[in-house]
Symmetry: C2
Subunit: 500 residues, 2 copies
Amino acid sequence: MKPNQKYELFKSHLGKIADLGFASSVLGWDQQVYMPKNGAKARGRQLATLSTLGHELFTSLKLEELLKELSEDETLTPEQRQNVLLTQKDFHRKKKYPDSFVEELSLTTSEAFGAWHEAKSKKDYSIYKPLLEKVMRLKRQETELLGYENHPYEALLEDYEPGLTVQKIDEVFSQVKNQLFPYIQKIISRPKPQNDFLLKFYPKGKQWAFSEKVLKQMGYNFDSGRADDAPHPFCTTFGPGDVRITLFSDEHEFTMMLFAAIHEAGHGLYELGLPMEEQYGLPLGTALSLAFHESQSRFWENNIGRSHSFWKANYPELQSMFSENLGAIDLDTFYRGVNLITPSLVRVEADELTYHAHIYIRYLIEKALIEGQIEVADIPTFWNDHYEQYLGIRPGDDSEGCLQDVHWSYGSVGYFPTYSFGSFYAAQLGASMKKEISNYDALVETGNLAPILSWLRTKVHASGRTFNSEELLMKTTGSGLDFRHFMNYAKEKYGKIYGV
Amino acid sequence: MKPNQKYELFKSHLGKIADLGFASSVLGWDQQVYMPKNGAKARGRQLATLSTLGHELFTSLKLEELLKELSEDETLTPEQRQNVLLTQKDFHRKKKYPDSFVEELSLTTSEAFGAWHEAKSKKDYSIYKPLLEKVMRLKRQETELLGYENHPYEALLEDYEPGLTVQKIDEVFSQVKNQLFPYIQKIISRPKPQNDFLLKFYPKGKQWAFSEKVLKQMGYNFDSGRADDAPHPFCTTFGPGDVRITLFSDEHEFTMMLFAAIHEAGHGLYELGLPMEEQYGLPLGTALSLAFHESQSRFWENNIGRSHSFWKANYPELQSMFSENLGAIDLDTFYRGVNLITPSLVRVEADELTYHAHIYIRYLIEKALIEGQIEVADIPTFWNDHYEQYLGIRPGDDSEGCLQDVHWSYGSVGYFPTYSFGSFYAAQLGASMKKEISNYDALVETGNLAPILSWLRTKVHASGRTFNSEELLMKTTGSGLDFRHFMNYAKEKYGKIYGV
């Protein structure tokens, strides 16, 4: 067999695994969007079967042998070689998990999810605590299974931002603490902008129509995707040419639906910009990391969607659509209203600055848990004390405190930092973009976002997993992550709004 | 390993195959209902992968060995034994297909489908002919691969109605020809009932609302299913507790959406009545045949949905909903309108009596093709001559003649008879039901269809594939298929409407 045929076999094998993964995504999407309630039980087992079959194909002897032969094959193109190397890396990571561990984690997290749900609704941490203890014990065990050089937490980070170190996170968050937090204090000492007009009645149909118009302006193509109603907004990929988002509306609050739509479409545009068709099922056809994915969604949501230029383009239409609520509100008042900075207890409702305090506290807890510095029993007090310290507010109960997020129940530890890093990457990308697209503001002000999408496609999307985040930032912006870009972004924007 | 554990392994293996099949159904449903157009290519490969994996699991050595051991296991319950025997039967049938044949058939039918589509829209049979020749050559080859006792066509029938013979079909259709066709002639010699009121403007939203109301009256449970808009009405199963239908509406014709909805929900109620949860993936959890499936859909569509009692219950609401169209139309006029008998060229638009002439002609063609009595080149003339002979009308071109149906392009040969047999089974079931449910008409007249569904669940649905159609009819009605029930049904109903 010629070497090229081996690569084709490899490609077709990974293609099948991708087929199973995308099929799972369709089933998962339907589960959240359309499935009638009595379909839940069978859907659960169908998803489990697809996942098991995908796992079996990925950890198969056949793939192991193909990888071995291809890794020694000197006739491969550089691109082919990289697909082989990245797959090998994923393969070896997957192989480190004993079946018994995978099963125990899966059973535990499924129980923990139920317990979390009950605990949150009953505002009773004690229901969740024993399960979370099991999860955390398994996550510590996982760091040993996977191995690490400097810090066990890094073994887990690898799933969300390959190559990210605890040292780097600490370094970045010390700037968050020393530069961003004092800046937030300055802002909140100023008079609060008006935003009551956002809390009027905004009928769903009209919110939906406006959101769709904005999605089209962003370049989200409804021939390659669609938006459906769901209890939570998310983005999901079914293959090249089919990347969907879901929308959730609150008729008594205007920003929820629109900014989530922009956020999810930001994820969607990244997926649609990946070379997924040519590299179907291969690493180079996929996103480089969850953190970088978040840079795309947050860039569109905040750097574009909450910018003055964007609203200069879009506010007149919004104002006439909802004239009963916004007729007397001018552009600048509206703009300040959607950029209100104020400490709050719930992460998903936080503004784009105080948000990072929420993440920082979660990071401190995760790291301390993995290090064994604190135990699961200590979380509520640790959480509440730190909210008081950094945000000046204290949760009334754990449902608006340490029970608010589902992530840990799933076993997602190391995920939270990606939310902040995404914003910081976004600011750095935005700074370069503004330099390279000469009439940037003028374009946004006229609703012409095509050059921005085009810049992101060329500089970020097209390379898939070719580079890691630091490498891609280096290539695109001339340096690895530099938190100063975020501070500059924040000061330039909020300096004008708050006069600080 | 204890015998019971072997059976559990068998059950779990078939359960996985079912998971893959149901996952395909979800992907197929989405493809027709919601998928954006650029998703088509990847969806095609995902469906192919799911189908290949399912086929590999079904024809695996593992299953073969389990079947061998279980077939000799005397500790199985009778039910378990039957699941093993039926699976063995399916297994041996699947094993008769060489991979090369499956691949050639799949490639050919996929090409033939494209050619059919083009030929139909261009009204040019010559585009389709060479592909259909290939398909029919393969179908003849298939009869040899599968083997048969009396007639090669029976090898193909097995997929749609196991045990059905050419002798039986000929016997039944000779009665159709000698009894039903003359009766139709009598009917159409009478004055045509008025039905112009069905062709007015019926807004989609209101049609949908009325259809949903009727579905609920039938006992179709929206917690275990849903209805979505699609270009063609169909029913699809995703597992116990999730059986969906699609609806298609024509705003300028009233009957299309409603009767298709009742028809598809009839299929859906059968699926929901199967013991699919306990027998997940096992033969006893599935429908006994396509023909019997059709008996359920046609029973609800025609025997219930087009009955006078049904409209006595439902016409007042319909009339007030569409008072601008129906205000001056009384119940009896409406009832006669939705039961107009008139020869037509297109099967899917045919009434419940002339429909069987359409099927009879297709059956004659299929049988003659498989026997080698005619060739694909002869179809158009054969078709047109027989339409003239049996329906008194001749297609103007092949698009309303032999190009109207997609079935042959898929390689579905032997399928058409199930449409007629379904109606004949329905009439026979209906006759027994009327005897056993004492106040049948009074129940239907008040919209209480629950005892009817309950009768079907107990007598038909609950046994899954335990019996074949003849056995089940014997058990439920006291005899195998007897066409006289259909003639009695037709004469009782249309005798009153047309006075014949």
